[in-house]
C-alpha cells in the first residue's frame, strides 16, 4: 500500500523541562495557548494524508493517554488503522532492563510486531516535542526522488552541542554525522525522518539482534557509512523544546506575527483537542496587549507580552507580564507576576508578587497555590 505510516516517540527522556514534566511526558506539555506539543506532529502527519499513527509511550503517560483519547480530534479514530497507542508495558517481556528506553531503536525493537503489521510502504518517525508545520508529503517525494534509504529532516539553524549534526554533500547525501561536539556545525537533525517500512523492520531487527539501541550511533553513524542517507533541509520554523529556557523563548517568539504565520499556516491547520470554550472576555478594567489569548479567559487586570491558555482568570489590579499561564490558572487581585510559567490550575493569591527573569523564568508546578 502506497503512502506513509506515522510513528511518534513519546517516552520519558532526560530533559530540562523541570516542573513542566513532573506529571507528564514531553509530548503532552502544553504549548502556544491551546495545544500540546504532540499536536504539531500529529497534525503534520494528518495534513500529509497519513491515516495510521502509532504513538510509542512509556513512563508518565497518563496525561498523554488522556489527551490522545481515540484520536478523533485529529480524524484518526478509524475502523481500520487510525491512532494506535503503543505503551511499553505491553512489550515489557521483550526487554531485559526496566526503566527508560536506552534509545529510539530499542523503543522500536519493543514494537517490532507492530512494525511488521504496517500497511504502508513508508514510515515517517518523529519525536513528540518538535514544534513545526512541515509538508511531510514533500519530504516523502524528495525521499522517493533521491532514491535514498533514509531521509532525515535537518535545519541550518544552530542548536545545542548535544544535538545531532550532519555534513551534507551537494546532492544532499549525508556524508558525516556527529553529536556531543564542542562547536556545532553543519545541519542540525530535527529527529524527524522517513524510511521504507521494509528497511525499517530490517534495520530494527538487526540492531535488536546485536543489542544495538541508539538511532544516531548504530544507524545514522554506523549504517550511514554504507547506506544512502539523505538530508532534507527545512528552512521554515522549527523548535525542539528540551529546556525550560528554550520552552520560554520559543513560546515568546510566537508573539512575533512572522513566526506565528509560519507555524500556523491555514492551509495546514494544527489541530487541537479541545474546541468548545466560550470566547475570552476583556473587562472594562482589563488591559491586554501583545499577547496570545486562548478561549475561555476572563481578563480584568493588566496582561502584557503573555501567552494565556484556556480558562485563565486575571483579576482586577493584577499585573501579569511576560508570562505563560497554563489552563485554569487564576491570578487573584493585585498580584504582580512577571516572567513566570504556571502549570495547570495554579492559583496566585491576592497581592502576591512573583518575579522571574527573562533568562531564568520561574516555573510553578501544577495545582500549586502561591
Amino acid at each position: 500500500m502506497k503512502g506513509m505510516h506515522g510513528i511518534i516517540f513519546s517516552y520519558e527522556k532526560r530533559s530540562g523541562l523541570r516542573e513542566l514534566i513532573e506529571h507528564r511526558v514531553h509530548g503532552s506539555v502544553p504549548f502556544a495557548g491551546n495545544y500540546r506539543m504532540v499536536d504539531f506532529m500529529l497534525s503534520n502527519m494528518v495534513n500529509a494524508g497519513v491515516t495510521d499513527v502509532g504513538v510509542i509511550m512509556h513512563g508518565k503517560c497518563q496525561s498523554m493517554l488522556d489527551h490522545l483519547g481515540s484520536g478523533k480530534s485529529w480524524d484518526l479514530s478509524r475502523n481500520h488503522g487510525g491512532l494506535t497507542l503503543l505503551p511499553a508495558f505491553a512489550y515489557a517481556e521483550r526487554r531485559e532492563t526496566a526503566g527508560q528506553f536506552r534509545g529510539k531503536v530499542e523503543a522500536l525493537a519493543c514494537m517490532l510486531e507492530y512494525l511488521r503489521e504496517i500497511r504502508q510502504d513508508y514510515v515517517v518517525l518523529s519525536d513528540s516535542d518538535l514544534i513545526i508545520n512541515i509538508p511531510l508529503g514533500d519530504v516523502l517525494q524528495a525521499h522517493i526522488d533521491s532514491g535514498a534509504d533514509l531521509t532525515a529532516v535537518c535545519t541550518a539553524a544552530p542548536g545545542e552541542s548535544h544535538d545531532t549534526y550532519f555534513t551534507l554533500a551537494p546532492d544532499g547525501r549525508i556524508t558525516d554525522t556527529v553529536y556531543d561536539v564542542y562547536a556545532p556545525q553543519g545541519y542540525r537533525f530535527l529527529n524527524l525522518f522517513i524510511v521504507s517500512k521494509e528497511l525499517l523492520v530490517e534495520m530494527v531487527s538487526d540492531c535488536a539482534a546485536h543489542n544495538q539501541y541508539s538511532f544516531r550511533y548504530n544507524i545514522l553513524q554506523e549504517r550511514g557509512r554504507t547506506m544512502k542517507f539523505y538530508g532534507y533541509v527545512w528552512d521554515g520554523y522549527a523548535a525542539r523544546i528540551d529546556t525550560l529556557q528554550n520552552y520560554y523563548d520559543r513560546s515568546m517568539e510566537l508573539l512575533d506575527p512572522a513566526a506565528r504565520e509560519a507555524l500556523f499556516d491555514p492551509s495546514r491547520p494544527i489541530l487541537a483537542k479541545e474546541n468548545d470554550d466560550a470566547s475570552s472576555y476583556v473587562d472594562p478594567s482589563g488591559r491586554c496587549v501583545n499577547s496570545l489569548i486562548a478561549d475561555g479567559c476572563d481578563i480584568q487586570g493588566n496582561v502584557e507580552n503573555c501567552i494565556l491558555f484556556r480558562g485563565v482568570r486575571v483579576e482586577k489590579g493584577a499585573d501579569v507580564r511576560n508570562c505563560i499561564l497554563f489552563k485554569g490558572t487564576v491570578v487573584h487581585s493585585d498580584a504582580v507576576v512577571h516572567h513566570v510559567i504556571t502549570d495547570k490550575y495554579v492559583t496566585i493569591q491576592p497581592g502576591c508578587t512573583l518575579i522571574g527573569s527573562g533568562n531564568y523564568p520561574l516555573a510553578i508546578a501544577r495545582g500549586s497555590v502561591v
Binding site: 506565528r260 488591559r287 501583545n290 496570545l292
Partner: protein, 399 residues
C-alpha cells in the same frame, strides 16, 4: 424535536444563504448550539432537527452531532427534512405539521414524552426540570413561560394560570392581556396525546397547523391538563436584527444573566481549530469578547469578535458584532454594526454610526453587512443600512 426550518426573514441579509439557527452568535456559537446543548445537558440523547429553509449550512454544521455528544449508537441527532411519500410530497406547512409529518420518526423511538423546541432562542434551560413538573402535574402538555413586562405582554402568547400553575386560558398576542406570563415556545407533551391532537388538526383544512395557534388552544378546549412551567433566567428570541445585536451585547454586561464563561451548564459548538487570539502591541481592547484565531491591532470596545476576525491598525470597532472571519482593515471604523461571516470592511471605510450623532433618531439603527460582503476602501455604509455580497442595498422597512 427541534424546529429549525424557519427562514428567519427578519434577519434579512444574514439569512440569505442559511437558516436562522445556523447564524453565528456570541463569538464561538451558532444559535442552534443553545437548544442542542440544553438537550445534552438535560440528558436527552435523541434529537430530531426539522429543517426546510436553506438547510445546507445547518446540515453540515450539525454533522454527526459529535460536538454535542449526540453521536450515539442508538438515537443521537437526526436531520429531518421534508420528504416525498407514496401519497405525494409537501413542505412543512406549520410547526405542528412539521411534527405531524415526522410522527414515524418519533414512533421509531417510542418515547413517552416529547420536547418541542425552537431553533432561535438564546437561553440555558434544564428540560429535565420541566419534564419533572410535567409528570408531577400529570399534564398532557407543559408550556414553559416567563414573566414579561406588562407593556410588552401584547406581543407574546399569554397564559393565564390558576393557583396551582395550571393553564386556564391562552391568548395569542392579546390587545388587553390578562396575565404577563408569556409562552417561550418550549413544550413538553405526552406523546400519545400530542399524536392524537396532531392527527385531528391535520383533518382541519383551515388550520394553520401551528402549535401556538391551533394545538394548544385545541388541547385547552378538549379539557386536557396544561401546566405552566415558570422559567427564571436569561432567555431571548433572536429573530430580529435588533434582538440578535442586543443578545450579543448582553454577553458584555454582567447583569444580563447571560454568562457563557460559566462552566456549570456548558454550551457546545463546532468550531475550527485555530491558534489563540493575538492582541497586538497597539491594540486597545475593553469590555469585549475575543475568540481564537482573532488578530487585533486596533481599538475594540464593547464588541463581540468571533473566531478568525481581523481588526487592523488604527481601526476602531465599537458596539458591534463581528462574525467569523470578518475583516476590518487598517483605519476603518465600525460602530453599532453586525458584520457577517467573511465580510470585509476596506481601509478607512466607515460602517454604522453612534445614535447620539444621528440627525434623525428614527432613521438610526444597527448597520448590517451580509456574509462575504466587501465594503471598498473609504466607502461609507450608513447606520441602519444593510448590504449583501451582491451590493444591492436592501431597502425593505426593518421592524
Amino acid at each position: 424535536m427541534l424546529l429549525a426550518g424557519g427562514q428567519g426573514s427578519r434577519l434579512y441579509v444574514l439569512t440569505g444563504d442559511m437558516a436562522k439557527p445556523a447564524v453565528p452568535f456570541g463569538g464561538t456559537f451558532r444559535i442552534i448550539d443553545f437548544p442542542l446543548s440544553n438537550c445534552t445537558n438535560s440528558g436527552i440523547d435523541t434529537v430530531g432537527v426539522l429543517t426546510q429553509y436553506r438547510p445546507l449550512e445547518l446540515n453540515s454544521y450539525i454533522g454527526n452531532g459529535q460536538p454535542w455528544e449526540l453521536d450515539r449508537l442508538d438515537g443521537g441527532v437526526h436531520i429531518l427534512p421534508p420528504y416525498q411519500s407514496a401519497t405525494g410530497a409537501s413542505w412543512f406547512k406549520g410547526t405542528a405539521n412539521a411534527i405531524y409529518q415526522n410522527i414515524g420518526f418519533v414512533d421509531l423511538y417510542d418515547p413517552e414524552y416529547v420536547v418541542i423546541l425552537s431553533g432561535d432562542h438564546i437561553y440555558k434551560m434544564d428540560y429535565s426540570e420541566m419534564l419533572r413538573r410535567h409528570k408531577e402535574t400529570d399534564a398532557a402538555c407543559t408550556i414553559s413561560v416567563m414573566e414579561v413586562p406588562w407593556s410588552e405582554a401584547s406581543r407574546f402568547g399569554i397564559m393565564s394560570v390558576d393557583d396551582a400553575g395550571m393553564v386556564t386560558e391562552f391568548a395569542e398576542k392579546p390587545k388587553e392581556p390578562k396575565s404577563n406570563l408569556a409562552s417561550m415556545g418550549i413544550y413538553v407533551f405526552t406523546w400519545a396525546k400530542l399524536k392524537a391532537y396532531l392527527t385531528a388538526d391535520e383533518q382541519n383544512p383551515v388550520s394553520d397547523n401551528d402549535f401556538g395557534k391551533n394545538i394548544i388552544p385545541n388541547m385547552l378546549k378538549g379539557g386536557e391538563r396544561l401546566a405552566a412551567y415558570e422559567f427564571e433566567g436569561y432567555w431571548k428570541d433572536v429573530g430580529t436584527l435588533d434582538s440578535l445585536w442586543d443578545a450579543n451585547m448582553d454577553m458584555l454586561s454582567p447583569g444580563s444573566g447571560l454568562n457563557l464563561l460559566d462552566k456549570k451548564w456548558p454550551i457546545y459548538a463546532r468550531t475550527p481549530s485555530c491558534p489563540p487570539a493575538f492582541v497586538g502591541k497597539f491594540a486597545d481592547v475593553g469590555n469585549s469578547v475575543v475568540t481564537k484565531g482573532c488578530r487585533v491591532s486596533g481599538e475594540v470596545k464593547n464588541s463581540v469578535l468571533s473566531y478568525n476576525v481581523t481588526v487592523g491598525r488604527g481601526a476602531h470597532v465599537a458596539y458591534s458584532v463581528l462574525m467569523p472571519g470578518a475583516v476590518v482593515e487598517d483605519g476603518a471604523s465600525v460602530e453599532y454594526a453586525i458584520i457577517g461571516e467573511g465580510a470585509v470592511v476596506g481601509k478607512g471605510a466607515r460602517v454604522g454610526g453612534v445614535p447620539e450623532k444621528a440627525e434623525n433618531p428614527d432613521e438610526w439603527g444597527v448597520a448590517v453587512l451580509g456574509p462575504h460582503t466587501v465594503v471598498a476602501d473609504g466607502e461609507t455604509v450608513a447606520p441602519k443600512a444593510m448590504l449583501d455580497k451582491t451590493h444591492q442595498a436592501h431597502q425593505e422597512a426593518r421592524a
